[in-house]
């Protein structure tokens, strides 16, 4: 009971407050800009040679304001913003008018989530296991792995992605060059489609796995080395604790805590997409959509993606806070 009152409820409150403040910031920040998006858009159209009769200009501005949710005072807009948020309505996308923002996001999000959650989880698991072993023991083949990681890590991601692309899609055309699905195909639930999707996802997944693995491997290795040198490990040895138990319950378990935090935080960023990956491989994910929206000043779409990614981040931190006591008894017994 003490734990619920002293730990869970404060976390939940914190979550609600942070999410509320974050969403409020998303609402207010664009409005602090000195640019009026409507005048900007009209001006843009005019520079492209669109003739808007002066008597229709006011009418047009009114319609655009309605679309953007910019009617009324700031307070009315703010209330409206929350209303739209709870009904999951972010208005229509401008660049893809009249498709609603929600549908644009719903189309892109599964691609991103499938790709990123898989690569994040897999690279984390492999890194924790391999990093744990390499950190604890020191053998010559492990040095080789260490060197590989040290060489790979400083390579900028886009360079590595491009190298993979050139090698495996152009020089040896094993995998498709771009996209998430073959041209002319529609998403169907049959073996052939699934195979096609996997084939398209392979290269992006591979590059993300290499990058994710490298840095998590290095941090796990360093943490394990640190924990291994702590006195309690030596002390456990004098207590006659067998090697296997020392590795698991004294070293790896302690080293896992920061790694769990890292995983949790990473999951939160998934909903923001992986822009560079999606651009290099022309993968139809949320990062690509966000980039497109920014380039085309599609405010509703930008707001939609930002809201979703904010809620995803705070939620994953909340989940992290809730599962953490399972691993760290110190939190449980405070």
């Amino acid at each position: 009971m003490n734990f619920v009152k002293g730990y869970l409820i404060p976390r939940l409150l914190q979550y609600v407050i942070v999410t509320f403040l974050g969403l409020t910031a998303i609402f207010f920040l664009p409005r602090l800009l000195p640019v009026d998006p409507i005048k900007q858009q009209l001006g843009q159209s005019q520079t492209f040679g669109v003739y808007i009769p002066p008597e229709q200009q006011d009418e047009m501005m009114r319609i655009l304001r309605q679309l953007y949710g910019l009617e009324g005072t700031l307070w009315e807009q703010y209330v409206n913003f929350w209303k739209r948020l709870f009904t999951g309505n972010f208005g229509p996308s401008f660049s893809r008018y009249p498709v609603p923002v929600v549908r644009v996001i719903a189309q892109a999000l599964p691609w991103t989530i499938a790709l990123l959650s898989f690569t994040t989880l897999l690279s984390w698991i492999v890194a924790v296991v391999v990093g744990g072993i390499v950190g604890y023991h020191r053998k010559s083949w492990m040095e080789a792995l260490d060197v590989f990681v040290m060489v790979v890590r400083p390579i900028p991601y886009y360079i590595m992605a491009l190298i993979c692309l050139i090698l495996f899609a152009y020089v040896f055309p094993i995998f498709p060059l771009s996209g998430g699905l073959g041209i002319g195909r529609t998403l169907k639930f049959d073996l052939e489609t699934i195979f096609n999707v996997l084939k398209h996802a392979f290269l992006p997944a591979l590059t993300l796995l290499i990058v994710g693995f490298s840095w998590q491997f290095q941090s796990m290795k360093l943490i394990v080395q640190g924990v291994k040198a702590e006195d309690h490990v030596w002390y456990a040895k004098t207590a006659g604790v067998e090697e296997r138990r020392i590795v698991f319950s004294h070293v790896v378990r302690n080293a896992m805590l920061p790694m769990i935090t890292q995983l949790g935080l990473q999951f939160g960023t998934i909903f923001g997409g992986a822009l560079v990956t999606e651009m290099v491989f022309a993968y139809p994910g949320i990062g690509w959509i966000l980039y497109d929206a920014i380039m085309k000043a599609d405010y509703n779409l930008i707001m939609g993606i930002m809201c979703i990614s904010l809620v995803a981040t705070t939620t994953s931190i909340l989940v992290l806070d809730f599962v953490y006591p399972l691993f760290d008894p110190r939190v449980r017994y405070r």
Binding site: E230, D231, H232, W234, Y235, A236, K237, T238, A239, G240, V241, E242, S249, H250, R253, N254, D328, P329, R330, Y333
Partner: protein, 320 residues
């Protein structure tokens, strides 16, 4: 006094630096000493003088580069074959009580683990643990189900000593056991070693940089400097009539709680710690107020003066 542990010409060389620039540092250089049964032997010296490395080699955590360690008539290398038996007889207490216990496990966990692994009791483990904890002034109720973060440093350090005593060892290696404990608790822990010696005929290797507590509790003392034992003998003789200039410097450096007293001598540190390690002659020559030409080139011999072993050229000259 019956011999329990004998360290013969023990050396440990560490290689430090990168692939291209490697330097060998002799952390422990040809150290020999003996510890008798029921004796408190102090290894004293500044940080980085090799006292902890010596302790780790005795415990078998570190492989000596050269030399031999003989415990109860058997070499530690032989003991490796039945490591548990060895660890049942030789136990250790570490410097930082907050690090001595795994923060994610309860304190009693390691107690039960010790009892089980060393096959001390099959029944009544709890009352046995309580019995041992009473010796150090704790009770089992105080540590039951507690995590290390819930206990104070003094409690933890006493618990860690109690845990070491569970297997009724004949030798306890205490590596700076009081340096992280409040001054007020320090004496109670040091006294505890004296009591254990009396009651259980326990031998203690007490590693410290605190000469005051060493003087108080130990029988024999060895002063280490940069891997060498520079002076070794009965504690009274070594600390009150110091022979080696380094020991004298150490004794003078003990601050007294007297606000009127001022430091009389400027102590200059001429070399970096690193340079001191690499010196060819006497490693203390850079700081020694009595250094002569010979000190910088020739390693001083070990000379016995009034039952004390001194590694210094001063006494070599006197004899001829």
């Amino acid at each position: 006094m019956e011999k329990l542990l004998e360290v013969k010409n023990l050396s440990k060389v560490f290689t430090v630096g990168t692939l291209l620039f490697r330097v060998k540092i002799t952390a422990v250089d040809n150290v020999s000493f003996q510890v008798g049964k029921g004796e408190i032997f102090t290894l004293a010296g500044e940080s980085g003088c090799g006292k902890t490395t010596t302790a780790r080699m005795i415990l078998g955590f570190e492989e000596p580069t050269a030399g031999e360690i003989i415990f109860e008539g058997k070499s530690v290398r032989e003991w490796k074959k039945n490591r548990r038996d060895f660890l049942k007889r030789v136990q250790a207490v570490f410097q930082n009580p907050f690090e001595s216990f795994n923060p994610l496990l309860t304190v009693d966990d390691i107690f039960f683990e010790t009892v089980r692994n060393h096959k001390i009791r099959t029944k009544g483990a709890e009352s046995y643990i309580d019995e041992i904890l009473k010796i150090v002034g704790l009770s089992f109720e105080e540590i039951r189900g507690r995590y290390p973060s819930e206990l104070s440093g003094g409690q933890l350090q006493r618990a860690s000593i109690a845990r070491a005593l569970l297997s009724e060892p004949s030798l306890l290696i205490a590596d700076e056991p009081v340096s992280m404990v409040d001054a007020s608790l320090r004496m109670s822990i040091v006294n505890l070693f004296g009591e254990l010696k009396q009651k259980m005929n326990l031998s203690v290797i007490y590693i410290t940089h605190d000469l005051a507590t060493a003087y108080y509790v130990s029988d024999k003392i060895a002063i280490m400097f940069k891997g060498n034992v520079v002076e070794m003998g009965p504690v009274e003789e070594v600390l009150t009539r110091s022979k080696h200039p380094y020991t004298r410097l150490l004794c003078e450096s003990i601050p007294e709680p007297d606000p009127e007293k001022r430091w009389e001598r400027e102590i200059s540190i001429a070399d970096t710690e690193y340079a001191e390690y690499l010196r060819t002659g006497c490693k203390f020559a850079g700081r020694c107020p009595e250094a002569q030409e010979i000190c910088r080139t020739v390693v001083p011999p070990e000379i016995s003066v009034d039952g004390v072993l001194v590694k210094c050229h001063i006494y070599g000259e006197k004899r001829g």
